[in-house]
């Protein structure tokens, strides 16, 4: 603590040489450049998505829409695939996150108990899987054998526990004062009660980290849709719809074209504006959420990075 104070003082009042000032100036210029490079693509997509599609063809849309319109959004959401895919994306994100966070926390609690006889065995069994995985083909065949192809649950069940997440939560629980759990035991609370009433609320910072990681993973996933559910259009997700647009965009009749052509909409929207609009739809939930969880995931990364 004392050291921190000293550093702050020297940093704010210390005299700076010419060289240091030049360095500072360059540093600030660089940071502003970094901000620009990071944000520009999103600003540009935003501008294109709210600009009239026919007007966008004229080009020169960079930071702000020239002719405002909501037609791109109205069009994309009227397209039944996208509307339904957004619903599936939201459903898998919500269900997947709740299930995964609860299960990860429960397992982490059990193997954090020093008296638990299977603690080491279970920990090692899980950590081993970080280094060895069956790979694509055996996983695919397993899902097939389990009759989980073409189902919603294939999005949830294979990913219930993430080993990295489990390590983050376990480390956090192990850092809680042991006295709290001891006194709960004294009061006759069993492990389940201790877990739900005491550990769960105290572990919220770590769980927020895990929830963010899982939610982002779920929202961004498309490969499992492609691999397991590509024949079920009603189980498609927003990201997968975007993949379809992307992967055919350099051929003549792209999925984006088809989106645009369907219902004679070619004169209202263009592939460029459909892409921009869907990019914004797919990004906005993340942009809205992650800044608020920043202090949690930063902590989680540090714990996981050190112990993992």
């Amino acid at each position: 603590m004392k050291g921190d104070d000293t550093m702050l003082k020297t940093k704010s009042t210390g005299f700076s040489s010419v060289g240091d000032r030049i360095f500072d100036a360059c540093n600030y210029v660089f940071m502003i450049f970094l901000i620009f490079v990071t944000l520009y693509p999103f600003i540009n997509m935003f501008a294109l998505s709210f600009n009239d599609a026919n007007d966008s063809i004229r080009g020169d849309i960079y930071f702000w829409p020239r002719e405002w319109t909501l037609r791109n959004y109205a069009y994309v959401f009227n397209e039944s695939n996208v509307f339904y895919a957004t619903f599936i994306s939201a459903a898998r994100t919500i269900v997947g996150t709740i299930v995964s966070v609860f299960c990860t926390a429960m397992l982490a609690y059990a193997i954090s108990r020093p008296e638990y006889k299977l603690k080491t065995f279970i920990s090692i069994t899980f950590i081993f899987t970080m280094y060895f995985s069956g790979g694509l083909i055996p996983n695919y065949l397993l899902i097939k054998e389990l009759s989980m192809l073409n189902s919603f649950w294939v999005y949830i069940i294979p990913g219930i526990i993430g080993v990295f997440n489990m390590i983050v939560v376990r480390s956090f629980i192990e850092g809680l004062p042991e006295g709290i759990m001891e006194s709960a035991k004294m009061d006759g609370a069993g492990d389940l009660t201790t877990f739900i009433r005491i550990v769960l609320p105290l572990t919220m910072p770590a769980l927020a980290t895990v929830a963010l990681f899982v939610a982002v993973y779920q929202w961004n996933s498309w490969f499992d849709v492609f691999l397991y559910n590509s024949s079920r259009h009603d189980l498609s997700t927003l990201q997968y719809e975007l993949v379809k647009i992307l992967s055919t965009s350099d051929t003549g009749s792209s999925a984006a074209d088809q989106y645009a052509d369907a219902q004679g909409g070619a004169d209202i929207v263009t592939p460029t504006s459909v892409r921009a609009t869907m990019t914004i739809v797919a990004s906005v939930p993340i942009i809205m959420v992650y800044p608020f969880l920043q202090k949690y995931f930063v902590k989680g990364m540090i714990v996981g990075g050190v112990k993992g």
Partner: protein, 319 residues
């Protein structure tokens, strides 16, 4: 709930350690209930696929029972190591992951050092928050952004034309030789901010009196950065480097798959795409599994070697 753990004390004295162990375990029914379902889960979803490696030694046919497949010994591996395409994808994998590893490390460390020098805390926080954004965005969105930026009328071509660096728009994703560079820059754009987290945390553990002493000796900010901050985070750098060496065959899958096309396939196709192509699209499960198995086993060897290397260097071990 408490009934399961608070149990009557057994009066009979057992000699064997094993039965004492099981007796103790017997008192932990609730803990077992809370963890054993997940043990079952990990066995089904992580260990059974490991057993699926046997497919690499079979001529696997769909529709036939798993126990009724023809065994072919090392044939799949022999075929794999004779296949030209395999060496091409191996080269692509190694080059792309090396670029990611080196560039990822250097840029993240430099950015962390520079962020650390920002004196206005509010500005620093803003830069950090913004720099994390691309990490959370899906690869699909990122690939979309890259494709848009690199399109003939995209921002990159517009800028280069304005600066007279090129005379006509370049089809960036249509030239195979450019792919590695494009991928490297995209990876940096996406992850550099997020990767600074661990270094910034490490920097805060450096003893501030070192900076004071250096200041009294007249060290400039750059000198302090070079002689104090960088050595201060060296252990973290070494550990992360080792962790990442174990992933040298993990060059990623999504960016290559999403940005790859017929024109750059000789540079964009990596091991993961190779497995997908042979396995899922061409139904050659045996060969694809052999390639996947090769990848995991080699990765593990890398990790062991790196770990021993670190031990010899006197840094803390990983596992």
């Amino acid at each position: 709930m408490g009934k399961h753990t608070v149990q009557l004390k057994g009066s009979a004295s057992e000699d064997s350690r094993l039965s004492a162990y099981f007796k103790a375990l017997g008192k932990q029914k609730m803990l077992m209930l809370m963890s054993l379902p997940f043990l079952a889960w990990v066995i089904v979803f992580k260990y059974i696929p490991l057993w699926g490696w046997t497919i690499a030694f079979q001529k696997y046919r769909l529709g036939r029972d798993i126990f009724d497949q023809a065994w072919v010994g090392w044939d799949n591996f022999k075929y794999l190591f004779k296949e030209q395409q395999f060496y091409l994808v191996l080269r692509n994998t190694l080059v792309m992951s090396s670029i990611n590893l080196v560039m990822g490390f250097v840029t993240a460390i430099v950015l962390a050092l520079l962020l650390n020098e920002l004196r206005r805390i509010a500005f620093k926080r803003t830069v950090q928050t913004i720099s994390y954004l691309p990490h959370f965005i899906s690869w699909v969105v990122a690939a979309n952004i890259v494709q848009t930026a690199l399109a003939p009328e995209g921002i990159i071509n517009v800028l280069l034309l304005q600066l007279n660096l090129i005379d006509k728009p370049v089809l960036w994703l249509g030239v195979g030789e450019y792919f590695w560079g494009i991928l490297g820059v995209t990876e940096i754009w996406k992850n550099v901010g997020f990767n600074t987290i661990i270094y910034l945390a490490a920097i805060t553990t450096i003893d501030p009196t070192q900076y004071e002493a250096a200041r009294i000796d007249g060290a400039s900010r750059l000198q302090q950065m070079w002689h104090i901050t960088l050595p201060g985070i060296k252990p973290v750098i070494v550990i992360l480097l080792i962790m990442n060496l174990g992933h040298i065959l993990e060059s990623g899958f999504e960016p290559q798959y999403l940005l790859g096309n017929g024109m750059n396939v000789e540079y964009s196709e990596n091991l993961d795409i190779f497995v997908l192509k042979y396995g899922i699209q061409m139904n050659n499960y045996g060969l694809a599994t052999a390639a996947g198995m090769f990848k995991t086993v080699v990765s593990f060897i890398f990790l062991i070697v790196a770990n021993n290397l670190a031990k010899r260097l006197g840094e803390s071990r990983l596992y």
